[in-house]
């Protein structure tokens, strides 16, 4: 099995064993293959066959255990789609097989007059929220969905924002006003109605209490609301409610040039900094056909790992704080300050450097960067030991987290859980090892694994991951390749400055690329990385323009939140808080 998919695979996947199996089982006429840069087979099929095909893929030997992503595209304004089946809207299902280390995308074409597909929530439970999001954003109906309501937009909202005919700019609307009556209506719409979720208000012996935890709550980690059905302090059931942090990042991508969208990616997982730029610029580079230099790749890895440590430190502090220990967060913030000094020294900014560029990075490393980074590398290890000894070995912490909100690898995969939360269940799946990108194959590091998939393992695992990240950064310091920090390619944006100052051609290109933006050939590409919280991917559709036709951002926190009820039913309120602290989410990453 070749673990590495070629980043620029645009060839036919007809010889892929999974595609062969599908053809053999259902016949070739059922599928239309689309050639893309996504690096996986993309097959179109009718909605009549959808459930059958998905069921086959889920239950085949070495199955597709995970519904990685499900979303839609409004195809109505897309001009370059000659070879594709006619469609006004497309719903796509991206499946992942951890056992095969392979992906597969299925697409269903829909006509504007008949926007309906069968719900697949019965096959993959995490389809529930994705289908609600698609209904919310595109108005596509999912037959048989248990609770098809708006997910990200307020329940009172009109229209479906990701449709092409829905305005993208505030100036295209009347000025927004909120009257007292309007406020009351909005408030009332948020009132939780247990019956509509199939919950009982009381049982034979119990009157349940419905507790509204959030959107403002010390442990909600942002604007996140979760409604608890309580029997005493036992969480009988709960309903997470998201969307309070929705900025419409995917819609914005349709109005920003390929280049000027980079800063928006920084803010998807706001603790991940430049790590967020990576899947986006890699996907754009696939579309543009840019091969990045080794130096640029290594710089990117180094800074991404700096941010991984930074994010994990924030996790560690808040996780322990949620368990009632008030001190660690101040210590981890001291460490984060040290990390930020390095990040600031290299990128010139702290939280949102937006520092990667199409074809490389914004600048080369400054003089003396290695001493700066080495200082941080020397500082961290003893701190990690201290956290372990003071906190992870503490009896109270262990009692609060061991066997709390535990789930198995199988449950994790069927809910779309990735990253440290998946590895805490013992599943060895780290994209940096399994599908190395940006030169991770050149580094010597290990993938820490948990065993029990409980809140303790999720905490301990991240401490171990920080150690591995330090190892990776150390190797970057010791073996930073020489060479250019930007690829020599016409679509590198902005072009290398030295050339721009000397050649009129490059100057013109520079001007065009930063004013209008680079023009990318029509195609689709997808790039996924092992981000701080799990697998983050950007699925870009270019229609031969300066802007993306559709940008789909698959974030790890979204499925992690969807899984909460499955993980905490029957636990106590403090266990729920421990679970929330241990899965490491930020709402910007969930709502986009």
């Amino acid at each position: 099995m070749s673990a590495v998919q070629s980043p620029y695979a645009n060839h036919s996947h007809a010889d892929d064993p999974v595609v062969q199996a599908l053809f053999a089982r259902f016949g070739n006429h059922v599928f239309v293959e689309q050639s893309t840069y996504t690096g996986m087979p993309v097959l179109w099929l009718d909605r009549e066959h959808l459930l059958e095909v998905l069921g086959f893929l889920r239950d085949m030997p070495e199955p597709f255990e995970m519904l990685f992503d499900l979303n839609a595209i409004d195809e109505r304004l897309r001009s370059h789609r000659a070879d594709l089946p006619p469609a006004d809207f497309t719903v796509f299902y991206q499946l992942m097989s951890v056992s095969r280390n392979r992906d597969l995308m299925l697409k269903v074409a829909l006509s504007e007059r008949d926007l309906e597909v069968p719900s697949v929530a019965g096959l993959y439970p995490n389809a529930n929220w994705y289908e609600r999001e698609v209904w919310d954003m595109f108005g596509i109906d999912f037959r048989g969905h248990p609770h098809l309501t708006r997910l990200l937009m307020p329940p009172t909202w009109h229209g479906h924002p990701l449709r092409k005919d829905y305005p993208a700019r505030a100036t295209e609307f009347d000025p927004y006003t909120l009257t007292v009556e309007g406020q009351d209506t909005e408030q009332e719409a948020l009132r939780f109605d247990p019956e509509s979720w199939g919950m009982k208000r009381k049982d034979e012996n119990t009157d349940y209490m419905f507790l509204n935890l959030g959107p403002n709550h010390p442990s909600a980690h942002g604007a996140f609301r979760i409604v608890l059905q309580l029997d005493g302090e036992v969480v009988v059931d709960c309903v997470p409610d998201i969307g309070y942090h929705h900025r419409g990042a995917e819609k914005m991508a349709e109005r920003q040039s390929w280049h000027s969208y980079i800063p928006y990616t920084d803010r998807i997982d706001y603790t991940g900094g430049v790590m967020n730029n990576l899947p986006y610029v890699m996907a754009v580079e696939k579309l543009a056909g840019i091969q990045v230099t080794d130096r640029a790749k290594t710089i990117r890895v180094m800074m991404a790992e700096m941010f991984r440590i930074n994010s994990h430190l924030l996790f560690l502090g808040t996780y322990l704080q949620d368990l009632g220990a008030m001190t660690p967060v101040f210590f981890t913030f001291t460490d984060r300050q040290k990390a930020y000094e390095v990040i600031e020294g290299i990128t010139g900014f702290r939280m949102h450097p937006a520092w990667y560029r199409i074809g490389g990075t914004a600048h080369d490393l400054p003089n003396g960067w290695d001493k700066l980074v080495q200082g941080f590398l020397d500082w961290m290890p003893k701190r990690l030991v201290e956290y372990e000894r003071a906190m992870m070995e503490n009896a109270v912490i262990r009692e609060r987290t061991k066997q709390v909100a535990a789930f198995t690898t199988r449950e994790a995969l069927e809910w779309g859980v990735t990253g440290p939360n998946l590895r805490a269940t013992g599943c060895d799946f780290d994209l940096r090892k399994k599908r190395p990108y940006s030169g991770y194959e050149n580094f010597d590091f290990e993938v820490p694994l948990g065993a029990n998939g409980d809140a303790f393992d999720r905490g301990q695992l991240r401490i171990d991951e920080m150690r591995q990240s330090l190892r990776i950064i150390q190797q970057c310091v010791d073996h930073m390749p020489a060479g250019d920090y930007k690829a020599d390619h016409p679509l590198t944006t902005p072009p290398p400055r030295e050339k721009m100052l000397q050649h009129i051609e490059t100057l013109i290109t520079h001007f065009l690329q930063v004013s209008w933006g680079p023009v990318l050939k029509p195609n689709e590409s997808l790039s996924m990385i092992e981000a701080t919280k799990g697998i983050n991917s950007y699925y870009l559709t270019s229609d031969g323009n300066t802007m993306s036709y559709r940008t789909r951002i698959r974030t790890p926190s979204f499925p992690h939140l969807q899984q909460i009820p499955a993980a905490v039913r029957g636990a106590l309120v403090p266990d729920l808080i421990a679970h929330l602290g241990s899965i490491d989410f930020v709402m910007a990453d969930v709502d986009r």
Binding site: G324, A325, M326, T327, V396, P574
Partner: protein
């Protein structure tokens, strides 16, 4: 000056003493709000409040001003009477308990025969503050906090009383001064070590201090029973908590560490010094420990502390019977 009789002088002195101790207790509570933040800062690699006045001591004044000028808000859905009553009980019950504490051989407010029992009574009343506050707020978080508080206090008051019975048996009195006098030769922390441990735990639980702050548990209940309080009413809960810390520290010193006894230094210094150490210990606990789960706190109380106090009491009783002059 014919009315200035020795009796009047005694009354005036007693009043003066009471007033000084009252002000000192409230002052200590207020000062602690700042001292705690400075100590936490020390242990958490940060400064704490250090801008107002030298070393930040005037921070108390600034906080007081802020709290007094805040809107005195009572939520429309709250039960007004109990809502107002709760913070008053919180502060008054703990302040009244200072009455029984003998500070030096000559200082102290009241010399009650039932000294210790008076403290138990006041601690019992203190629970009502939390219950009333939580119930009258009309808030689910407050209610959950109040539920936790009542369950926790019930469990911990049971063995708080028992943990001190060893001391009472050894001193042969409930009177605080006699208990201090009985420690002339050896502090009760030595013969009553288990009593000391369990009382320390119970004392923290009664004041709802971390790690027994289940009723407020910021990360879980978003401040629990006083979530709807603001302004000076909240301030009274707040100061009440700190007065509680000083009170429990002073009680530990009186009951187990020989009160004012100590060589070289004057009694008042010994008393204050020992009390300050325990106050510092309370703050250190908050800085150092995570919060155990609510049911773990309960089972720790019932399954470990209660049996421990019972055994301690049994052994103490047996030893007293064996070694006491057979007068019976």
């Amino acid at each position: 000056m014919s009315w200035w009789t020795p009796q009047v002088e005694a009354i005036a002195f007693a009043l003066f003493q009471a007033l000084v101790i009252l002000i000192a207790a409230v002052g200590a509570g207020a000062l602690l709000t700042m001292v705690e933040r400075r100590l936490l800062g020390l242990w958490q690699d940060r400064h704490g409040p250090n801008r107002v006045g030298p070393f930040g001591v005037l921070q108390i004044l600034a906080d007081m001003l802020k709290i007094l000028f805040k809107e005195d808000w009572i939520p429309p859905f709250a039960d007004r009477t109990f809502f107002v009553l709760a913070p008053a009980i919180a502060m008054a019950s703990l302040l009244l308990s200072f009455m029984i504490i003998p500070i030096t051989p000559s200082w102290g407010v009241a010399d009650l025969h039932i000294g210790l029992l008076f403290f138990f009574a006041m601690a019992g009343i203190n629970v009502y503050a939390v219950l009333f506050g939580g119930w009258s707020s009309g808030n689910k978080y407050a209610l959950l906090g109040a539920m936790r508080a009542s369950a926790q206090t019930l469990s911990y008051e049971v063995f708080m009383g028992l943990s001190l019975m060893g001391v009472v048996a050894m001193a042969g009195s409930f009177n605080m001064r006699e208990i201090v006098a009985a420690q002339e030769t050896i502090w009760f922390i030595v013969p009553q070590f288990f009593g000391f441990c369990t009382f320390l735990v119970a004392g923290i639980a009664v004041t709802h201090r971390h790690p027994f702050d289940q009723p407020e548990a910021e990360q879980e209940l978003a401040d629990g029973y006083h979530v709807e309080y603001s302004g000076m009413k909240w301030g009274m809960f707040f100061i009440g908590e700190y007065v509680g810390i000083v009170l429990v520290s002073a009680l530990i010193v009186t009951l187990f560490l020989g009160g004012w006894h100590g060589p070289w230094l004057p009694p008042i210094v010994w008393f204050l010094l020992k009390t300050a150490i325990f106050v510092g210990f309370f703050v250190l606990l908050r800085a150092a420990l995570p919060r155990p789960r609510y049911d773990a706190v309960m089972s720790f109380g019932w399954k470990i502390c209660l049996p421990l106090t019972l055994i301690n009491l049994l052994v103490t009783g047996a030893l007293i019977l064996i070694f006491s002059p057979a007068g019976g």
